[in-house]
Subunit: 98 residues, 2 copies
Amino acid sequence: MDLVALYAQPEDSQAFDKAYLETHLPLIRQVPGLQQIELKRIQRTLMGDGCYMLAIMRFEDEQALKSAMQSPEMQAAGDNLNTFAEGLVTLMYADDAE
Amino acid sequence: MDLVALYAQPEDSQAFDKAYLETHLPLIRQVPGLQQIELKRIQRTLMGDGCYMLAIMRFEDEQALKSAMQSPEMQAAGDNLNTFAEGLVTLMYADDAE
């Protein structure tokens, strides 16, 4: 199961990138059960209201994701996120659709 | 480079799923240069305005994606999409952010 984060366009994208890559990502990588993180930066929006970045964090299953969400490591990552991305984040659980 | 599609919640999700999986996905799979498609169905939204589904279509590079976008196969897939998902789609180009 995946934890999917969509990030809306930040006012200062350089500051956002620096905070995300240098402080947030290392904290996310410490979350127990995280198997993989895919980080996509949007280059161009062709249709609809686009976003700035998306992160797909993969866990073994729902139980592993739920445990991860309650871990002190995720709490620390969430607290950190609020320091630079408050109001920009959409956070969702997702399953492979096929 | 990736083509990312976000789908907003359809009125009739069963009809959407049927159209997507049985008609749209086979057309997308014929697009030249498509290396992989990841299809994620959103199970729960924890924060922000969530969506219904996301599709991440991977191409070798920007040139491969641009060629694919102009192919008759993508035209057919886009025409098909408009028959069941008009107004629901956000379409973006994305690069790996790391």
